[in-house]
Symmetry: D2
């Protein structure tokens, strides 16, 4: 950490700040400049909480050099991680994983039909939501446990590992029982209690970026899971909230190569939620793969026009099959075998 | 809802959309324009889920007229609500409520000292966090239940109702036992399961705006609580996330008069979290009161320089006492007796 | 336009609004709903200025159906435009155009070296700035007219059409004399006087998206140029400002397919300014091409480490050559001949 | 500036960076930490352009300590500036200045009526736009020079200094001739050529914050004017662009006390453009004054319902008179005589 003093800070103020740093068990090294003094803080093994120093008299600002994550960082863990979900693998050099399925689980038949379409199209994992976070309380809220059973059945029938969102700690055991991978939704990315509990399981986790989370916060959220002992985390970019409303969110695709540089964890992209428009899903799927995503998760519904949720961004089975032809062609070009 | 067709949409496409609307049990009324056709959707009693209509062929966009909240709206509930918390009241025409206390509960003595300072300064409620949401897992996470006891004790000793954040459903019973008011933090504003459970209690709720939540989403979150039968909700503006990093968040003070117009629920302001800078807290407290806030919540710590959390935005007891003199003077000017 | 009345609006208020609409020479059609009345506004040939209606008593909100652009819209101009710049063409089905060169023109030799590298790598156009918009006045501000001469020379020597930014109207004649294409920078996207003057020339224009401009505003800015008679406009996405600071801006790649749907004008991408990081330029260049960009503009400098501007996001000649091999390989895969 | 090296940076890389710093005529001081090395850059007299250093091998990031402004900073100019506009003064301890008038100048009579209302209400300066920046080219663009004459006449008739926006350099002489104060609009805050030319005049300048400008960029824009020798700059907060669309922009009122701390220049607030809603103008005017604004600029129109521009956010003469009663009452409370 670097502490920058005001230009007119007195020597007494500098001394007081240095004493406060030493009181934290750290070393303070003054760096006199031509305009002002700065104080380097040394000896910390990670992020320093600066809140008590930031407002001492004479301090202009504190600047963090360490990041609030360490286990998720490639700096401390140079080799890329491979995450295995019931035989499907996410990681550097591996063929990107296509996860598909409906936004929400509606009926047994709908899930079976969706799974068949995902399998036939060439998808490797099945998604579906049993508990739905909806902006307003008067919208469809999901089938709950009954839905999880349909999801598991459909996954088993077509040999597709399944991923589903867990929204509350009490559901965790049940969801672990039915699902191969736990999804933490964007709205829960900083639900730290949930992250910790998920970190205590040994289940693979798909952690979605919060809609206003910085990369630093995203990796710090992953750190919560890793810190509890569960290192099976796959990150998912799903769009951030900006002033632009022409798309549902703004897909921040540059974070894919950026996160690959900063972290050893795999990262996938969800173009369905990012754009909110079916028309944009195929082209952004391909762009994501070229950007280096370790996978893509998209919404596929047997009958988008009657979907209870997110029909506008869901592909039909035929559209998915068509897209997958393109995707496989592209993956061949990118050097991944079939 | 208004459905706007593409300029070149065919009559067949218009008919198909109208049929889809009728299939939802609603009435479709075509509005032919000089450039394109629009279709009005009538007969709905609230927000219409448009996801299945939005992507029918020929549809350019759908425009919502109804809001995703109704019980929180002044349109359906014209009279302003008064929320009582153990004798302290929030509402139109009532003297604004000052809530103060430390970010996190650290020791029994710290809470007693803080409560004394809050009481002496003229604050009406005491705050303090027992469970702390922190960006990274390596920061202080709060004292838990033990902290709740200190909070309650301090509140009782100085006759100050207490408010504290509840972060997970399993804690809810305990928190209800110790606290007079439940706080839902910004990160949990769309933790819908938690909102529903809180809605099933009869405890007053302080609902903080999510850092990237629109006013519409904020009121829809309140609706989740109201819809379960708990109408004792006080809203809290605490800053939103924008590109500007000179302050911790951007205090969106205009929402105070705006929410007062849109909703019957009281709204208070938290200048400590909004600005993140102690220096800005007094002036923004006064601005909030002039803007019509029904209260202000701020951080006060007996020794900000040694605070385990948010020291940089906490006032000392003396600073709080000084500010409260100004506040009382201002409230007198605004017509509130002492 | 749709005018939504308050739930409790009186018939008199509805009548007053309808009269105001008729006074504008338009037709008002009431649409009575179960909860409130809405009023459709018909007869307009484009965007309606609603400012006088929006605050009449009883009006809750006005909703625009028409967009503030028409000539830039595909709705009114279904065929994609092809823009020719001294023989280089931007448009649907054409091989995407690679524009490269330094951020700023520094010396005659630097431009010659850069042009040689761009040509050898396979770029089709040369860029370079003679007038630089810099955040602070104490940074290098560009060579001015002298720089334009170096740019033109270098372009002619290697048979590369050149594009350069015009920042003020008085420079326009000079810039037209030396450059094949005029660039309007992001900071000037809503410098409407400049747009109009550029619209009066017959020079091709590269219009960069403002850093906080919506797609609607972006196309409305293009409309300013088109409305003056110059239809030779190429759009350029260069990143928007968001809360995320890990990249210089947030590259909003989804707008490429979106703009291709909304407008007939070509759109290219500038990954150098969007990301601000050299490391991200190659991968985002390829992602942009897969997303359907009609071209990519990037910064290439003979010696990035000594660049007077934007060295951190510039590729060296060797890096550019390496990237262009990948790009050509990718374009071949996408079906564009060599 | 602080240069942070990667954890695994080699000594050779550290040496290379230090050599690059020395080559810039600055001093490099290594600060070895337990996890990585940082390099302090000393000897600079202001902001250091880091673009050539930022991407040297082994560099993780560069952190600026100096700001891109100096003359605008209170650090280098501790005493608050007082700006005089034809006898009306903006500055610390002085009664805040109320500027009012229509968005655009429409007719001679409209300006006379507006000026009379402003004068009668107690406003001290008159505003009105002759050149209007409008999002689309098909909206009213202003009366031009003819309008300036009406503005000047009205100002002289009622002894009110006038302020009007200058949008292009060629207009500058004319605008200086008719107006007492030059306004730089939000869209032109980074039109650096215009800033420089305005800086060469001796006219007072009202500089509006760009809609996506940080405080740092805002003050750096002021620096452009100061650097040319014109120190008569008044800043104006007018709302920033965020994800929230319930108001036209988000009024960032916390910047008032923040800018007062960082800079010696006066700062005023424009609640009309910030909120876009007439209903919010009075309450936010009062909040701005309590927040420490040195003035407020608001839109007043003799007949808002027929205004050619921004009618929805304009007060009528009666509304202005009513607000001014409240304002004067509040200013009395705040200690300003009448």
């Amino acid at each position: 950490m670097l502490i920058v003093m005001h230009r007119h800070a007195t020597q007494e103020q500098v001394d007081q700040v240095m004493a406060a740093v030493e009181a934290m068990g750290l070393t303070a090294e003054p760096i006199p400049g031509s305009l002002r003094t700065a104080i380097g803080v040394l000896g910390n093994q990670g992020y320093v909480d600066d809140s008590t120093i930031r407002t001492l008299p004479g301090v202009r600002e504190t600047i963090h050099v360490s990041k609030p994550y360490k286990m998720a960082s490639r700096d401390f863990h140079p080799d890329a991680s491979v995450i295995d979900v019931a035989g499907v693998q996410f990681g550097d050099g591996l063929k990107p994983v296509i996860i598909a399925g409906p936004c929400s689980i509606e009926t047994e038949k709908q899930m079976m039909d969706a799974a068949e379409q995902v399998k036939n199209g060439g998808g490797q994992m099945l998604r579906g939501g049993a508990f739905k976070p909806r902006t307003g309380p008067h919208s469809f809220q999901g089938l709950g446990i009954e839905g999880l059973k349909y999801l598991q059945q459909a996954g088993q029938a077509f040999n597709l590992p399944v991923v589903t969102e867990v929204m509350r700690i009490e559901q965790l055991d049940k969801v672990c029982q039915y699902a191969d991978m736990l999804q933490i939704g964007a709205r829960n990315m900083q639900n730290f209690d949930l992250l910790k509990e998920v970190g205590k399981t040994n289940h693979p986790v798909l952690l979605k970026r919060g809609m206003s989370a910085t990369i630093e916060e995203f990796l710090a959220a992953a750190e919560y899971i890793l810190a509890e002992g569960n290192s099976r985390v796959v990150l998912c970019e799903r769009g951030i909230r900006t002033f632009e409303k022409a798309t549902r969110n703004t897909l921040d695709l540059s974070v894919v190569p950026l996160v690959r540089d900063l972290s050893h964890l795999p990262i996938i992209v969800d173009p369905s939620h990012a754009t909110g428009k079916r028309m944009l899903v195929p082209v952004m799927t391909k762009a994501a793969l070229v950007a280096g995503a370790h996978g893509v998760m998209m919404e596929v519904h047997p009958d988008p026009a009657s979907a209870l949720c997110d029909g506008a961004q869901s592909l039909s089975g035929d559209q998915f099959a068509g897209l997958m032809q393109d995707v496989n062609h592209l993956l061949g070009f990118l050097g991944y075998g079939t």
